[in-house]
Amino acid sequence: MTETKLRLAGRSDEGERAGAPAKSEHITLRIGGMTCAHCPPAVEKALLAVLGVRHARVNLATGNAHVGFDPAAAKVADLVQAIRRAGYACGTAKTRLPIANMHCSSCVLRIELELKMMPGVVKAEASTLTNAVDIEYQPERTSMDALKAAIGRAGYRVSEPKHAADAEPLSAEEAASAAEYDLLMRKFWFAAAISVPVMLFSYPDLIPGLRDWMPMGSGTRRVVWALLGVISLPVLVWSGSQFFTGMWDALKHRAANMHTLIAIGISAAYLYSIVAVAFPRLFPDMRLAEVFWDVTTVVVALVVLGLALEIKAKGRTSEAIKKLIGLQAKTARVWRDGKEIEIPVEEVLVGDVLVVKPGDKVAVDGEILEGSSAIDESMITGESLPVEKGVGNEVIGGTLNKTGSFKFNATKVGKDTALASIIRLVKDAQGSKAPIQRVVDAVSGYFVPAVMILAIAAFVIWYLVGPEPRLVYATIVLVTTLIIACPCALGLATPTSLTVGIGKGAENGILIRSGDALQSAEKLNAVILDKTGTITRGEPSLTDVVAKGSDEETVLRLAASLERGSEHPLGEAIVKGAEARNLALVEAKDFGAIPGHGVGGRIEDRAILLGNAKLMRDRGIGIDHLTSDWERLAGEGKTPMYIASDGKALGLVAVADTVKPDSKVAIEQLKALGLEVVMLTGDNERTAKAIARQVGIDRVLADVLPQDKAHEVQKLQLEGRNIGMVGDGINDAPALAQADVGFAIGTGTDVAIEASDITLIKGSLTGVVTAIAISKATMRNVRQNLIGAFGYNVLGIPVAMGALYPFLGLLLSPLIAAAAMAFSSVTVVTNANRLRYFEPGRNAS
């Protein structure tokens, strides 16, 4: 059996990672090249030899390896490399190459055959519909260049390849809409050119020279009009073809749409004109034998132009996602076999080591192995300042390396990268529906048939009781009513605004998961903020140094030197604090932890103790001169520690979880938006209140157990409020899900946080403010569009039916109706595009 499919099929199990304290991850890997029964044990052995792998089970029949491993000790990349070292393949690349000159099904066969003959090609499928070939191949055995060469051998040419697989549906869509636009514009120019003579000769009575040359009832007039009919016909059948095909396709489904209305309208005008020219004697009065060729050509020209402009404007609504797709790197520098080679990004595999130079794009997600640099992540996180990164830090694919060079280990490639997930989430959200759309849905199924009924009613009424010539008036009214009605404007109103609004969010590092979330965020009137990691950094740092009987520098230097060997987070915070003040640390001897009390050791031949009051009292060290400071610091929610040297207390060092720099501003802005801000924490009340005071929060819910957080959200909801909950997405997941809108604070490349409605990629609270501001702006825009579109139809249709005629003697020309109809939908899309100019800072408060 030759294994054919060898894709990385599994992802780590998130739930397991969040829950179990002893971390364990499971992954399913597709293994290639297993031909016989002794292969599975060989692969298993290779996997088990990797440090951190707990168990490995390989199934020959499915070609899958199930691996359980400790993520702290082993990376997926290690597993893949172990499999490869054992002589098996793991992971295939998939790519789509567009073919420039493929026309028929025999081309398909030739291309597929040539590719399938290549070693390493697993699958090749060409299609004349997409004009592309989908190839699945093993990058170890072949390369993109070799694939292209094979296609060349078959006698075909690869048009410029597109990047990452995810981008393609949209690019294909884009190409299709560009072609559609060109076609519509050609149709428009043709219809417009024909419209000029048709307009001129249709109203000879208004033009002095023509009036005499072709007087009413004359043979000349009949011949000229007949000719006009002939030249109008191509406009009807070519420029207006989509109206008829659209009507027919819809009718087969017992549905009616805009095309139905336009098609009936222009056909009615055209048929009337034919009868008027061919059988003028049928009409009792010569005045009735009018032609409406101009209605046919001008309506087609205007509506086609409207459709073309709409395509252009709609293209702009998805500009944000195009920008995201454009971020994807096309090539990557990979370190293979001791040298640096540049390969297409599709061929990068998990576990590859990539080299990034200043000015390069980071190709995929990974972890820095060596070197450091400042990286511009603004395109992903919305954070404008470059971020300093060093060994062990995560880098995100699509971001821009600024200053230094580094090597990193690819951890996520292809569809698993943060950027690909963001693109997918944004696309999904843009395609989702906001609840407000239901209003439109309720109407749209009835809209077109209802307009047809109204048009017929108008015709009948004008014919029964209208002024003479009744038939002409009735026909005009019928055609005008059909043409002015615009179901498109209604249908476009919500989706276009949502697309722009959600795209705008993504540009600012805010992932709005659905139209529902966007609409709910507008109605929030209270926001609950988790304290740790949301308002605060979530890790302690040094805040105060108190020296009594020594200087601050000595106190901190001794404390930090002592803690240098410690791995306790509080100790690390003290060391970092000392390093930040450029203190030279010294070696500590006889270092030891005193559980529950503190640490001790010898520095420069002095016995140093660092710990709580109990430690000091146990050792008989007087601390009375420090207790007032201790209490003050503890009252501020900090953790103060005594430091003593040779039995004498020298002072205090205090560490605390500090507030993120922009939390206070963000909370002020939330309040300015009229939201009540509540803090929720598992910490004790004193610590919680201290932080709350710093950032200006009045209501604090402290001592809340993790499992009770969702319940607290529910209690606030019962007070009749719409609650937004901001938390970390793992511990706070139930609370996020319970809230009306759950905002998850993002953590690096993990953007697809299931429980949240909105993910803030940059871990800052200002994102909440921006998200709410975007929601408000978008919903305002949606309402403008809906009011505009409904209003247009509600006013336009009665006017077209002649409602104003009895009072003002006013009757709408079908030509004006066509112009109004064509531009109503363009207006809606253009209004949605205004949202593109939304700027978070300006519109926030």
Partner: protein, 125 residues
């Protein structure tokens, strides 16, 4: 009233009646999704001027996979939205796109293009 007026009135009324019947009253019988291995209920839907078939019947409590194939370029139908299941999919011309979801409760659910011009029904028994 003159004869021609009567004629127009009668013709108009019958046209209205025809429109009401044609578009609103007559409903198509649904196509039942086939059960395939793996427990999925699968159906193929052609997207061209509408959804064919436009009514799909499935059983509740079993996963559903609908394979959409769009064979037109009109931009309206480039997406299909299942609002009740919070699912949507892009439908590039000429490609078959599978939409998968899990109907828990029996009932009638709608799917449509984002503008609501193309409509389909999913009947869950």
């Amino acid at each position: 009233m003159t004869a021609d007026r009567w004629l127009v009135l009668v013709l108009g009324l019958s046209l209205v009646a025809f429109i009401v019947w044609f578009f609103w009253l007559k409903r198509t019988a649904g196509a039942r999704a086939a059960e395939v291995s793996g427990g999925y209920q699968e159906a193929m839907i052609l997207v061209k001027g509408g959804y064919t078939p436009d009514t799909i019947i499935v059983r509740h409590g079993k996963p559903v996979r609908l394979n959409f194939r769009r064979e037109e370029t009109a931009s309206c139908s480039d997406k299909v939205v299942f609002a009740d299941f919070n699912k949507s999919a892009e439908l590039p011309t000429g490609e078959t796109v599978a939409v998968e979801f899990f109907p828990k409760e029996p009932g009638e659910y709608a799917f449509a293009c984002p503008m609501g011009m193309f409509r389909g029904r999913l009947i869950v028994e």
